[in-house]
């Protein structure tokens, strides 16, 4: 029945590997099952063991081990399963791409988990446009997906946090709640709820068919399998690319056609991530948590943005911080009041209007916000601002002296 098993490539760091998630794009249900084989039926223990031994981690950003998350639902009699495709992150498009062009893989993963874990309800939460088109079509093509309910996600940065997803599925505003309790302990109507990123679900669908060993044949021990990356900014061909785990920053940029012009840094891990300078040494760093720890960055949801050398890093950081500050849900004080204050100080610095004590002032504000609030939004934003100050520290000094090394853009440094 399996006519085309995706052939695993022997991984050498940096070597390309054959696409897995992106191997069956635009396949209808008949073609999908013909090429991948039928979806196996797994018992709860089998699913957990398979996920754990594959080393699969959540691809929504937090990189929580999928095996552990599934294991914590084993004791529950009734559960709820939610596929999460809400990419609040403006620079991430991989979940939408999966829903648009490989919806059957995502549905496979959700049905597999629900079937094994006694899932009474299955939801797919994502951008309304893609739910109404390709997902609706895919659901209509197969008998087993009749009960999957589609829930539209608002276009807001925090709408994809798992506690916000649980709220949205219950018909409430998609705002984060405090954690604990974790959603897999108490989620939709108090039931243990699996909130799974759709890329993670798609990987599960392949692991169930081809096994944990196959999954590990791509990637490294630390970052097994493949991972979707949205590579954008100053690259020749911005897009979504599937790379083996542990591929280097260079590989990611090369996959997108290489730099479109001279680069100075990459923003890795998205708006809650960190800047990594682009130089001959750092560009060889693997996209892994341990290698990027020094930069407060992580592969996260696979976002890589290339910042060209002609742009001011402080300006870029201040713009992202202003966006993030505006995306606070207005629920918790530190986030609601602290983030706009911090973003305003960074803006003043980017405009060249800050005094010599600006570093102390920002540090004081950031320490007040870091680690507080109900969700990870304040801490993530603090991480981005600190990374901006650290990576572009020379630029901070120049701005304090009234200069900017970037090519003059009208109105950029007012002095």
């Amino acid at each position: 029945m399996i006519t085309e098993l995706p052939e695993p490539a022997v991984h050498r760091p940096g070597s390309p590997c054959r696409p897995r998630l992106l191997a069956t794009l635009d396949a209808d249900y008949v073609e999908h099952t013909a090429r991948l084989g039928p979806l196996p039926v797994l018992g709860p223990r089998d699913l957990v063991d398979l996920a754990a031994s594959s080393g699969l981690t959540g691809r929504g950003g937090a990189a929580f081990p999928t095996g552990r998350k599934l294991a914590s639902l084993l004791t529950a009699r009734r559960t709820v399963v939610i596929g999460n495709a809400a990419e609040g992150e403006p620079a991430s498009s991989k979940d939408e791409l999966l829903l648009r062009r490989a919806p059957h893989l995502v549905l496979d993963g959700l049905l597999l988990a629900a079937q094994a874990l006694g899932g009474q309800e299955i939801y797919l939460y994502g951008p309304s446009a893609v739910l109404a088109s390709s997902v609706r079509r895919a659901v209509a093509e197969r008998e087993d997906a009749r009960f999957v309910r589609l829930v539209a996600a608002p276009d807001a940065f925090v709408s994809g946090q798992d506690t916000a997803v649980v709220q949205a599925v219950q018909g409430r505003p998609a705002l984060p709640r405090t954690n604990p309790p974790a959603t897999y302990v108490s989620g939709v109507r108090g039931l243990p709820t699996l909130v799974q990123n759709v890329e993670t679900a798609a990987h599960l669908a392949l692991i169930a068919r081809y096994g944990a060993y196959w999954f590990r044949q791509a990637g490294t021990d630390e970052e097994p399998g493949t991972r979707l990356h949205t590579v954008s900014g100053a690259v020749r061909h911005p897009g979504v690319y599937e790379l083996p785990g542990g591929a280097s920053l260079d590989d990611a940029v090369a996959a997108a056609g290489g730099p479109a012009e001279a680069l100075q840094a990459l923003l890795v891990g998205g708006y809650h991530g960190g800047w990594v300078p682009w130089d001959p040494i750092t560009r060889a760093l693997p996209l892994s948590r341990s290698a990027l720890r020094d930069y407060d960055a992580a592969p996260g949801a696979g976002v890589v943005i290339a910042l060209p050398a002609r742009r001011c890093g402080l300006r870029a950081g201040a713009d992202v911080a202003a966006y993030l500050a505006g995306q606070n849900a207005g629920q918790c004080g530190p986030c609601r009041y602290g983030l706009p204050s911090a973003a305003a100080v960074l803006e003043r610095l980017a405009e060249g209007r800050a005094g010599p004590r600006v570093r102390t002032e920002l540090d004081r504000l950031l320490r007040m916000v870091d680690g507080r609030g109900a969700c990870s939004h304040p801490s993530g934003t603090v991480r981005l601002i600190r990374s901006t100050l650290r990576t572009f520290h020379g630029e901070v000094d120049r701005h304090l002296a009234g200069h900017c090394s970037a090519a003059p853009v009208p109105g950029e440094v007012r002095r």
Partner: protein, 191 residues
Amino acid sequence: MTMTLWYLGRGFGVSALVLLSMVVALGMAVRAGRPLPGLSRSAQQTLHRVLSLTAVQVVLLHVLTLWADPYAQLRAVDAVVPFAGRLHPIGLGLGTVALELVVALVVSSLLRRRIGLRLWRAIHWLAYLFWPLSVLHALGTGTDRGAPWFQWTVAACGALVGAALTWRIAHRQDGTTPPRPAPPRELAGLR
């Protein structure tokens, strides 16, 4: 020694009232639709937190010193059961209720992550009740209630809270959120 405790207890009481008025006023102002001139919202919030924790300590000192003082004739039960006091049972009782509210506010704030936002907010609303209770307690039992300086102090506290309330109502949050900045164009991914 005995007179020292008595004076200290009264002093802590008046100090607590002043501090708490500032806490309540700041708490109301920070929720208004517009920040106070010259004080950013995050600064107001920090001040609210620091002052409220200071005020709680002063309230505890107020209770402990008067409890230790023989003249006030406070029993341990008066700190828990309201309206059972020997001297000024009504005024003292109001103070007891206020003290219990303080305990509820502090404990619920410490447990905020455990009890959830909704319950925490419901309890925190009780803070509004706390201020009139402590004013009535001050006017009901205060030894100095007849002294002009005391009356002026209470009046000033009332004016402060009244002003904050006016500001809060005048600049009500109208539900329209300020425009949110778009993600920077060159860093907005494939959009």
